[in-house]
Chain length 307, copies 2
Amino acid sequence: MSESPDLQAQRAFQQQLTDAGLLVRSGVAGVYARNGVFESIVDGLTRMIGVEGAWQQAEVLRFPPVFARKHYERLDHLANFPNLLGSVHGFEGGDAQHRAMLDDMVAHGDWARHLSPSETMLAPAACYPLYPGAQGVLPEGGRTVDLESFVYRHEPSDDPARMQAFRMREFVRMGTAEQARQHRDDWIERIKGMLESLLLPVEAVVANDPFFGRGGKVMKASQREQDLKYELVVPICSEEHPTAVASCNCHLDHFGARFDIRTVHGDVAHTACVGFGLERITLALLRIHGLSPASWPLAVRKALRLD
Amino acid sequence: MSESPDLQAQRAFQQQLTDAGLLVRSGVAGVYARNGVFESIVDGLTRMIGVEGAWQQAEVLRFPPVFARKHYERLDHLANFPNLLGSVHGFEGGDAQHRAMLDDMVAHGDWARHLSPSETMLAPAACYPLYPGAQGVLPEGGRTVDLESFVYRHEPSDDPARMQAFRMREFVRMGTAEQARQHRDDWIERIKGMLESLLLPVEAVVANDPFFGRGGKVMKASQREQDLKYELVVPICSEEHPTAVASCNCHLDHFGARFDIRTVHGDVAHTACVGFGLERITLALLRIHGLSPASWPLAVRKALRLD
């Protein structure tokens, strides 16, 4: 297996990042604080992406990190990616149960059995909270939405590019089949150009989502056959296994049918999303141009307004 | 009870905000998407707060919305505010349990019983993830830290100023008892001045945290007697019950002792935090200056660079 040299490289990069103070460990694998330098790069990226997408005149929507459990349950995430979910549980008891919970914490640590599922889940992608609320007839010309939020994926890892909580910027298109596919295809080239202007060695490759379990194999193959998902990949800790820093996805009429989203002509809407992993692009820049943005190439500094 | 007119005013304001598209309902009370206009105000505020606090030359740290469960368990939040917590649960099973979980979802909806507590909790305040990592000896002069993150409190409400997920900016001081109290006291006046420059009718009042249950009454009284917490309040939906939009808190040596944080002289460190509720200040501005920032007083627009 080629896992081992990759893992070594990931741990070495993680150590460099924490030594430099760019990331601060939190006691949980894949959960870090970011320092001001790291954040200035993220700020530069989000500004640059906004400029790149300005021609779309997209609706800006910012969702918090949690969204409705009842919407989650209709999104197929539980079938496809159960291992990655984050379910928010809370305490609904009174004084007596509170005392019992505190006693359990002291006695054996298993206090969480007193909790029950709340009305929310952590959002696994910036666009998941959007579709359930988009039910109904789209305006003439469809909708283009600009999203950014913290998303959660339960996959503890020492790879600094595989965080449990990270920010995802997205542009979502909802409209006809042609509008959706056009959006996806256009953005593959735009993102490639954008990342090349940051002097990153980027490639666009056909990809699949990490569908769960034995049944997942069929889903992966089908997604690839249908040419639905492209990833923009950059080598961060491995030349052989470059990291996806952005992805461009056609959902066909999956969300349209599920949430009854329709075009003005009455057809089931198609949707597509393009997503930027803000931490991953930042890590790619730090890996390739060095840990000190002050000494990055001038073109990169200018593009990100790092001054 | 005076609850009823307040609740009416809160629901009316909520309706105005959603009609104007500033907030978008999500199917869960207290969870909203924000639109671009709302976000431009938040951006203006966070820039303004950064300028106001620049003299401190604070370390910038940005934590994600989740933090270590093992740290949460040492923070007394479970004793004091169990009703507000958010515990992140995940799925650790294989194919067979996955099928059972999906069957349960279809049959009766109770699929979450297949989940177990993960390594993380949702952060209830921006500064909670900081203290556990601050263990050890502080530098000469102590530390001042600039934080901002999404925080979570499980209190579903129709009051738009009582969200379940919202952003909190904080400046935390760790050092001697005098340094901590000075930080807290200075910021009461600074925040008052800042909010007055935004033409908000603000008052500083002694306050207490919403400690849980019967035992909580004693805690509330003790916190007030010791003069530990001040809130900056602005009337949003009620003149009689104004809303806290910022708070300034002395923790004495609570976190210092709990997490073994020490001054260079070997004393247990004292800590203090000042926090800005970014959504609440935004809502106060929208309530008092109107729902259209384009027609706000020029001084306010300039201070927030809304142009």
